[in-house]
């Protein structure tokens, strides 16, 4: 069964069709990439899936459940995590605390329990801390745990964001241009990391500009142009797809 199933998804802003009639699905355990030129509707698509903006038409099913009417925090609680294109790290918190926020949906302590610091809250807190440290190790920056997250390097901040997203124990991870702003070495590191996360059994949907990264790690690619789906295939065949080449390299006849 498909983990994520998108059918006839549309969204318009005023007269502009940002996303129109897009359908695709995501099978458990794969990495799927969404590519397309600037303004193709990639980010809008992401925001629609996460519940950040309401959709105009269509359906989104996650683990068989309709999520198009849910708010973004409810969708996150179902097991969908994401990272942001322009890193949204929580300032004024350490790297570890940032990851600990990610454990939110897996813990329960409410206001009263937290204020009274009940024994089970205490235990839960210890568990969250242990798990978060593990995740920092997974993304290979355990030494940054007690540093203020905002003071870390760009690449490290991306890693913190990744660990934070994983902390919720998601079944689906959405990565919004994870390689943006990284140099080629950092990008190679990132590719390794994403593959490692996939091996943990997390399904990944990513939006990316960096073609080498996309071709490297994705199992399938969806190409968008002007809000429409242009193609959907495995990387090798996308590279041969005439329509895709036209979009990226310009129309031969016009040139």
């Amino acid at each position: 069964m498909a983990l994520l199933e998108i059918k006839n998804l549309s969204r318009s802003f005023g007269g502009l069709q940002a996303v129109s009639d897009i359908s695709f699905s995501l099978v458990e355990g794969m990495i799927k990439a969404v590519i397309g030129p600037n303004g193709a509707g990639k980010t809008t698509l992401f925001n629609l899936i996460c519940g950040n903006i309401p959709l105009s038409a269509g359906t989104i099913r996650f683990q068989g459940q309709h999520i198009e009417r849910l708010k973004s925090h409810q969708i996150a609680a179902l097991g969908m995590s994401r990272t942001f294109q322009n890193i949204k790290i929580f300032p004024g918190m350490t790297a570890l605390e940032n990851v600990m926020v990610g454990c939110h949906t897996r813990s329960r302590a409410g206001f009263i329990a937290a204020m009274l610091r009940l024994p089970q809250t205490f235990r839960e807190e210890r568990e969250i801390r242990r798990r978060s440290l593990e995740l920092l190790e997974l993304v290979e920056i355990p030494q940054t745990a007690d540093c203020e997250a905002a003071s870390l390097s760009f690449g490290q901040q991306r890693a913190v964001e990744l660990a934070r997203a994983l902390a919720a124990g998601p079944s689906l991870l959405l990565l919004d241009e994870p390689a943006a702003g990284l140099n080629i070495y950092e990008t190679a590191e990132l590719a390794r990391l994403i593959t490692k996360i996939k091996e943990l059994g997390v399904t990944i949907l990513l939006v990316e500009h960096d073609m080498s990264l996309v071709m490297d790690i994705s199992d399938e690619i969806v190409v968008l142009d002007f809000g429409r789906k242009l193609a959907e295939d495995i990387p090798a065949r996308i590279q041969q797809n005439r329509a895709v080449i036209q979009v990226y390299l310009g129309d031969d006849e016009d040139a």
Partner: protein, 355 residues
């Protein structure tokens, strides 16, 4: 658990409270205790507001309103004579359950009033209900809209207190009876009870502080700071921002209302000036000076400024002093006085090195 690093300031506060009391006893200056007790109750409001402003990131220019709701409800219930209504079924029921007490006023007239414990609980309950009702729509607003809406709420409470006969109009309510907290512990302005009241008040501050510190250093506190940092990212972590903001609003309102109840019993009355906009602005000013998201900073500044103000050290310039502090702080040190560049440098030099 042993003495962890986090407990040290709490222990210091306890020591300081005791030492100050001993000094006043030793130097025969126990009249200071009166202002110190009042300061403690105002500090309780500030701790609550600091949770809301510093951690949940929501401005409230109407917190004096919650203080007044607590004070007024408690004062009204414990002073209004229900004797004329004693045959009413509800009143009879309340009387039977021991929630009312029969007494005599100075003219020997029988008076039937609600006991302070019940009045206190009623005041807190009313506050919770109002805070939920007002917080739900208000916290959807941001920036100027939030500021004006909370300011508007504060003014409504002020005007309501001023215009309603039941709440004594411009005179407020006086003759509020002592609050027998526990056997041997009574909240009242009685000279004999000065020392015990000092400890009651500071005990409450301590309790409020510990509860708040626990909250801040928990899953909830992290969620609040996350909301403050980026609401979108917080939502992506599964945090229900509006619910967390609302609950924090209610908790901070309860802190204010409890302070209102206690101070009203301590002073034996309450007037509409407690609900005035100036009071709300003053609470905000103190938190701004303490550095928004610093409970200890807010508490320190709250104690210092409230005590100076209550001792009349600013004379007739009281309002002007707070206005000037607000402007100067926001111009030169928007992160609070402890984070002034100069102080920061000193801190770096002498204090523990940061990672």
């Amino acid at each position: 658990m042993g003495i962890s690093k986090r407990n040290i300031p709490v222990l210091l506060l306890i020591a300081l409270v005791v030492i100050v009391q001993l000094i006043t006893a030793g130097t025969d200056t126990s009249f200071y205790l009166t202002q110190l007790t009042m300061t403690a109750y105002y500090s309780l409001v500030i701790i609550g507001l600091c949770l809301l402003m510093g951690y949940a990131g929501q401005l409230s220019l109407g917190h004096a309103g919650f203080f007044a709701i607590g004070g007024y409800v408690s004062a009204a219930l414990t002073t209004h004579n229900l004797i004329g209504l004693r045959h009413n079924q509800l009143i009879e029921l309340l009387n039977k359950t021991g929630l009312l007490s029969m007494g005599q006023d100075i003219y020997g007239e029988k008076i039937l009033t609600v006991i302070p414990w019940a009045a206190c609980l009623a005041a807190i309950l009313v506050t919770i209900i109002i805070a939920f009702a007002i917080g739900k729509p208000v916290l959807k607003l941001k920036g100027h809209y939030l500021a004006m809406a909370t300011l508007g709420f504060g003014i409504i409470i002020f005007r309501f207190a001023m215009a309603t006969e039941y709440f004594g109009e411009a005179d407020g309510i006086s003759g509020v009876p002592p609050f027998h907290l526990l056997p041997g512990l009574t909240v009242s302005g009685d000279f004999g009870a000065r020392i015990s009241n000092y400890y009651i008040a500071w005990g409450l501050v301590l309790l409020g502080m510990i509860l708040s510190l626990n909250l801040v250093n928990s899953r909830v506190g992290r969620a609040l700071r996350a909301i403050h940092g980026s609401e979108e990212a917080a939502a992506a972590m599964g945090i229900n921002a509006s619910r967390f903001k609302l609950y924090t609003f209610v908790i901070s309102a309860v802190f204010a209302a409890l302070a209102g109840v206690m101070l009203t019993h301590y002073n034996g009355g309450i007037g509409p000036s407690e609900a005035s906009v100036m009071k709300s602005v003053r609470y905000v000013a103190i938190i701004a000076i303490g550095g928004m998201s610093s409970l200890w900073g807010a508490l320190c500044m709250g104690v210092i400024l409230n005590f100076m103000s209550l001792r009349g050290m600013f004379g007739s310039y009281d309002g002007a002093v707070f206005g000037a502090i607000l402007v100067a702080m926001m111009l030169f040190a928007p992160d609070g006085i402890l984070r002034l560049p100069l102080l920061k440098k000193l801190w770096r030099k002498n204090g523990p090195a940061r990672n």
